[in-house]
Symmetry: C2
Subunit: 404 residues, 2 copies
């Protein structure tokens, strides 16, 4: 069995205000009545269990993060219900299912259109890709629920979501936002996510602005410039790039180029529509451009990127861990520094002491927070500590308190 | 100096018909009159030279490949003209240039708006990214020229384009299509391109079909299914994925799902709109869906991905080469097999024998073609040889006949 709270520290103690939320659950998925139409006895106990960890970094209010921490795993469970039998059956997933799963008399197993009845070329779909699809759609359903309930239930703001699902021997890491997950295995770093920001998603955003210019409301241009163009520069030529380019070129400055660029700024200061610095996540249905009624949500994606790690392909030792952190950790701590802290803290404890992972999570948070001196919270290198909320999960991959 | 024809073999001799074209040039770029507005003496000789290799794999006629092989490097030269002074000046590129470069009296150097006069945060633009932008735009201008001249000059068909530009110590590899470039350096393989196919570009294609459904003409659906849905399956649930998903999920089959999928098939048989198996390249302005008037061009991109390799960062030996090949080579030859052939052939020649690179290119083509036996052209492993055109360039990175 996984120990369910292997190590998590929220809010580094700099303020009482915290928009980070976290969740950690064992979730049991009971199948719908047999997808093949044959009613199944409840006593057969063919449900599935998954282990779940979620970090939710809220912005512009804590409502979305709070709601996601309560409900996202239930959406994942809901999406997995249809798959309970399929995932436990080693044969390839059926291409078609009857319309109403398990509705009495609606169908029988002959309605299952398997590969045998298919045309010549049928694409192979793996069990793994069904779980990925279930997680992807769960994010979308969560986001849609926030849209529906935003008025009645005060779902303010939005949140990044970084979620881990452990199911049938595989670890699924789903990330929508700028949190990050890495595996530290035998000292080696294996990235398990990437960040979605105005810089990393520039071309997707620009393409959308180009194809749907009405979303720019006449206030923004889909072109990127190294800085904002000034009216007196009209008629000169300036550096620019569009949705097709990674390089830069010169173009003559026209009136439209004086609009604010859809994507501007660099690093942590990069923004979409001069407003938001993260381009994927849940919520933000009410987010508008500052002093305008232009909605930003069309440019944000609620879909995560899901990476899969097969836990059975490698014999893990007690020092192998999966580390999840919000940007409060990663803004001031590199992957290598995290790996060094993993090594330093875990080696100070007995391998079978479960508290070593909690200690590690605390060390990571405190290391990113710094200590108060010189008019600020400082890191050992005297740089400023993270001023953001800092949340960390440490999930052991092979130690005590890991999977059974 | 590079030897200009270090090794190239076109058409493996199976037929007289060949849609591949190639080009290899030293191109001199004379600057426009000084971008700063001060006329420059022609005798100053401040032009730039670049070395150029291009492989063009035509389809549906040889017109586009032939035209690209004649003209693409001229478009690159044209795009570089504005940059001749800038690229030779170690200071950062100016953000703005006067409107009409070098037009007498149009401006003076005070019109150059350098970083010093900029707002607080100006993005840094490198010389390298200007060359990348110039190559990207040259592909677009080439494609636009084909669109303009397709009637008058019989530009039939389209072509993949794989182009190498060596300029000021750096190698720029630009790829639009399914050709491939790799560097073999000290036996190690460094990929210098990736292929653009209905599979690798699925989500871009689906997103376009979703945002602009009129481009699907009521004949196609932007959703992907493992195989085409049959009318009798209406109302059942089928596996699908959309532009946001990498995984698969089940959805109820509706009438629209009976349309043909925008993207279908796998591997070499993957197709956009059941027609074309490559999603980037030049030309194809007249390409229509089979037995329909629906144009396919809106789904094809003429923009290359450009990768940069800094030749000065590593001391190259005579066995280090850049290998370019059309898909006729790579369909039957892996990167590792190419690296093994590089090793085998080059070690059979003296390091200073320039003919070793030609011999290597010939060996690669003949190896992919196979030899006639058992009712077909067979490879040593008895698999069928490539039935496609096979074109290969071998460019030495550190041997005799490489750069001065």
């Amino acid at each position: 069995m996984w120990s369910l709270w292997p190590g998590r520290v929220i809010n580094a103690g700099k303020s009482r205000h915290n928009e980070d939320q976290a969740c950690c659950e064992v979730v049991y998925v009971e199948g719908r009545r047999s997808v093949s139409g044959v009613p199944r006895e409840p006593s057969q106990g063919q449900g599935l269990c998954f282990y779940y960890w979620g970090l939710f970094d809220g912005h512009a209010g804590g409502g979305a993060a709070e709601m996601a921490s309560r409900l996202l795993h239930r959406h994942i469970r809901e999406q997995l219900k249809d798959l309970v039998e399929i995932l436990q059956d080693p044969s390839p997933p059926p291409l078609c299912l009857p319309s109403t799963p398990g509705a009495p008399g609606s169908s029988d197993s002959s309605h299952l259109v398997g590969p045998q009845s298919c045309w010549s070329s049928q694409k192979e779909v793996t069990h793994e890709s069904l779980v990925v699809g279930a997680i992807e759609n769960a994010f979308q359903f969560m986001d849609e629920q926030m849209a529906r309930e935003r008025r009645g239930h005060q779902v303010e703001g939005g949140c990044c979501a970084l979620v881990v699902v452990y199911l049938l021997g595989k670890v699924y890491v789903a990330n929508a936002g700028d949190s990050r997950a890495i595996i530290v295995r035998n000292g080696e770093i294996i990235p398990m996510s990437r960040e979605f920001t105005p810089e990393t998603e520039r071309r997707r955003l620009q393409l959308l602005g180009f194809l749907k210019p009405e979303l720019l409301g006449g206030e923004f241009t889909h072109l990127e410039f190294p800085r904002r163009i000034q009216p007196k520069e009209l008629g000169q030529r300036t550096l620019y790039r569009d949705q097709n380019m990674t390089g830069w070129a010169y173009k003559k400055i026209e009136l439209e180029d004086l609009r604010f660029p859809l994507v501007c700024g660099e690093g942590k200061k990069a923004r979409v529509m001069a407003t938001i610095g993260v381009t994927r996540g849940l919520g933000d249905h009410n987010l508008k451009v500052c002093s305008s009624t232009l909605p930003i949500k069309p440019f944000l994606s609620c879909f995560p990127e899901v990476r899969v790690y097969d836990l059975t392909q490698y014999e893990h030792c007690p020092d192998d861990v999966l580390v999840l952190g919000t940007d409060g950790l990663w803004d001031v701590t590199s992957d290598c520094e995290v790996a060094a802290t993993v090594d330093r803290v875990l080696s100070a404890y007995e391998p079978n002491d479960p508290s070593r992972y909690t200690a590690l999570a605390q060390a990571l948070v405190l290391g990113a927070r710094g200590t108060p001196r010189d008019r600020g919270w400082r890191l050992p290198n005297n740089k400023l500590g993270s001023g953001d909320d800092i949340s960390v999960f440490v999930i052991p991959l092979g130690g005590p308190g890991s999977y059974s």
